[in-house]
Symmetry: D2
């Protein structure tokens, strides 16, 4: 076991070096993907932006690039709403949403018709709308949103985190696909609350703006069996933290989930704002941001950066050099 200990020490001392190497490599890349075009506010983001932050078990943060610039976390918010809903409703949520990879793009409606309105998992848009509907139980939309925002501020100990209202307005104007998904599920009775309430809360929590540093902090409870090491408080039961990680691994990157698992080997959740939250169980929480997206809607260079990081640090959950 001595060998492991040495290895891990080496790793710790090296993370800053590795981050610098990644930063040098990424900034030189020409092929950066495409910035999300369908939301004007996101389309205006500089495609050259890049940030990366890693928080280890002890709370030490290593960061490079624009790690303190807030960006729109978009679908990464689905990790937080799922955590909230599991906390309030437990395994009853699986009566209204599945937990299998979808084999389709993030906003596909085909699967919904075959499965009579039950989405495949909570990380595709339809599934996240169901989770939002659950959080609305017993709440006015404003309260539900307040609960989500409080949760995110709580796990980051950062009350400055806010919702970008111009992104909300932008999404609401262009949100026809999500409106289609919500109305479709409503027609099957899978959504309980008014469609406009569900969409309103959903568009707002997707528009939460966070920096890589904030996001990496927010993911710590997932790296440490549900406990936030900075406060020692349980955010979610150990069992559930593990299971959220497994859902991130199998479903966190839409139709590119298999590719991400294959190359990066970590649970991760992407957003069309170009961010990815990735978890090294027991070891670290990582956030990366590069706004250019690949064909599946995942950050192209974000994934490349994470692949370099896990390879160099030996962090893959599928086997590491000890």
């Amino acid at each position: 076991m001595a060998k492991i200990e040495n290895e891990r020490q080496v790793v710790r001392s090296n993370v800053d070096v590795v981050l610098c190497d990644i930063f040098r490599e990424i900034t030189q890349r020409k092929e950066r993907g495409q910035v999300a075009a369908y939301i004007p506010e996101l389309a205006d983001v500089d495609i050259e932006s890049f940030g990366l932050a890693v928080v280890d078990a002890g709370g030490k943060v290593a960061a490079v690039g624009e790690a303190d610039t807030p960006f729109s976390i978009q679908s990464i918010s689905k990790v937080f709403t799922l955590t909230l809903a599991l906390g309030r409703f437990g395994d009853r949520i699986w009566e209204r949403v599945g937990r299998e990879p979808s084999g389709n793009s993030f906003n596909s409606i085909v699967q919904l018709e075959f499965d009579r309105g039950i989405p495949r998992n909570p990380f595709i848009n339809a599934g996240a709308l169901v989770v939002t509907d659950l959080i609305l139980s017993g709440h006015e939309p404003r309260e539900a949103l307040g609960e989500i925002l409080s949760f995110v501020r709580g796990i980051t100990a950062d009350s400055s985190i806010r919702i970008d209202e111009t992104v909300v307005a932008s999404e609401q104007r262009a949100g026809f696909r999500n409106a289609a998904l919500a109305n479709f599920m409503k027609s099957f009775g899978v959504l309980v609350h008014p469609v406009e309430h569900v969409l309103g809360v959903y568009f707002h929590h997707c528009a939460i703006a966070m920096s890589c540093r904030q996001l990496a902090k927010a993911g710590r409870f997932l790296a440490h069996l549900g406990r936030d090491p900075s406060t020692n408080l349980m955010v979610v039961q150990s069992e559930r933290a593990r299971r959220i990680n497994s859902l991130m691994l199998t479903c966190g990157h839409y139709n590119g989930s298999g590719e991400f698992a294959y190359r990066v080997g970590l649970p991760g959740k992407s957003g069309v704002g170009g961010g990815i939250l990735a978890i090294v169980p027991n070891v670290a929480s990582i956030a990366v941001w590069s706004p250019g997206l690949d064909v599946n809607g995942n950050s192209q260079l974000g994934r490349v950066a994470l692949e370099m990081l896990t390879t160099r640090m030996g962090w893959s959950i599928f086997g590491n050099f000890q």
Copy 2:
């Protein structure tokens, strides 16, 4: 780090106890699923059968139940053919088969039509037929089959492993769905060799019979970065071992892959014979056998046993108590 060391020692000393508890629990279960009905030879297997074997990093084997009774490994053979094909052709195999979860049942043909004959991943039947077609390159069917069998005998150091010809005959009589898949891919030019050659080799490697003890040994190279600890020989590159594990996690249980990852938290591959091979990276290789299948065609009690094992041992790759 001392804590980890103690924990692991505890774990080692406890695996036999945990296996006994699992054995007691499983033998009392009434609800055992359904034995695969479409292959007469499999339908005749006693649904009460149960075996479990764990090989740790040092080579120590813990086993309970019928751990030495050979059973038909069926789709678990796809792990070995994928390993062989990756060794011979490297990443070129991904030109003919994808690596995303399918979101469909194991023998669905729908996806194939949309993707013009390219299967979603190497662990659904269509993908495994493509892998078999690759192994046929430059070989007669008999040679290709010999190569597969030699490989399996090699990694288990057990030349007694054989193919059950009555199962082969049984599958060939009932193999219309696989014949449909093969002909369909052939119509798109995705298969190169004659359909009957591909089907012949495929039916034969699915009919390999192994015991839990043999199967757990065969999986050791996946637990140890591609190296077989008993011989110190590299079976496959480290990178590839990790990636095979990631494919097992995302795609190894057909349309129940998400469920398996959620509950067991290990890379695993099931077969309709009722076996499951599961990998604890860096720690252990596990094989379990219980012939009753759930609705997705995966061993029902095999999964339950593995869930108990990973929970008690803290072996989930998504976070463990250290």
Copy 3:
């Protein structure tokens, strides 16, 4: 040719007798299907209702049962909106809607995803929404609706025809599936006008109430090459009248279109209010009403009545005794 003449005379003298026989038969049937349940206003209609009206080339009307009771024409209105849109935009409408049978149920969304928002034909809900969107060009919703209503009143020469506002309200409360379809097409840019405008006009024209007698009159221009024999005015070009008939035959009964063509052998369009408009080219226009629906959402006894009528009268377009 003398034979033809005699036959047709016989036919003319017999239509009243045939209608009486049909009425006797239909009123005795126990198995009447299910009244549309999803719109409360429709669910309240008496399932025993039955009406049938036939207008021949000379304008003579034969009718039995409740042929003067108004019912909700629902999707039959799609024939009139298609006629209007073809008049205003000609063949350009086919850039936004296809003319092939859908092979799916009336409110399926699956096809739309594969065809990037272009509906298969103007008689499924999605296609009718596109036609409504076209009619909205250059109009406020109220004007568009006025144009549709004026058209229907014009071809029936009956200004008493009105929209049932309680049905509109009922549909709007339960119209989640149509809202899903409209938003989905809007996300592809296939709809030009605001979703709520399109849905508003659509729900209103579906809620037009007409009796069998009025509806049979309204279909006369389709039976007579686009010309209304009562006024001698061309409602639509001859070519287009023929083509609307062909669309009614191939697509007029959703996923039961083949069945209707097979059994009745006439162009026809059904509505979930239980009405069917059927056309005997060159000979007659027919409207039938029986509110119980079959599994495909078409009037069950309405089809049976039409089958008896075409068989007895020799009116099938696929061959008749002359």
Copy 4:
């Protein structure tokens, strides 16, 4: 009624003139579609070939172009096998094949999976394989084929009609898609006979070679309520002749059936050899041949010729000038 009589006399005297005009027009067309590439024997046919034959109720034949050159009738043979099967088994055939348009291409397998092996209609390949399986009941393959060939020779009174064995050989070498369809249906138990028997008979009857003149004669029973006017014998019951016509209209041109109905307005069945058989109920039987196919696999100029013919002659079943 005098008017009708005159009109019809005019029509009769004009058909030769119209055919000459069509011939002139078609031979000048540059855009002729693509000859079927997947069967080498068909790919060798001269794309400039064109023939057209019309047989009226009295038996008079009008013909232009290569109306006496035999071509491979391919899927048009499905009309004859359906007629045979309906004669032997009646409406029981609908337990194994539907009669709705498919909304998919001629060799799609997707629908089959959703409908558990039951094809949508007898004119897509899967449906025709089921019909062939029915004809095999109680027969050896050779006998079944003999029955089909005898039937075709009988209705044309032409014993010189034969099967082109080089086409058969060509199809058998390239028939992977059909083999996939047959094996797929066999896996659901929808086919009763050995897959190779069904495929063998199917490939043979598709390879029947006929000229336009022969084919037009073969279709006369469909134009005349099941009776062959030349012999006065009933080939099939009146009811069934009408229904075969309705199936040809709704399903006879694969995914271009709506388009054909819309433009030509006649029941018709196409084959990838470039032939189309079209029926004018009570009036005429038509065969056209032009080997270039459109994107749906239907003869491109064949359809254009038929559209010209029905427009000029007023033969559309959806309304004609009388």
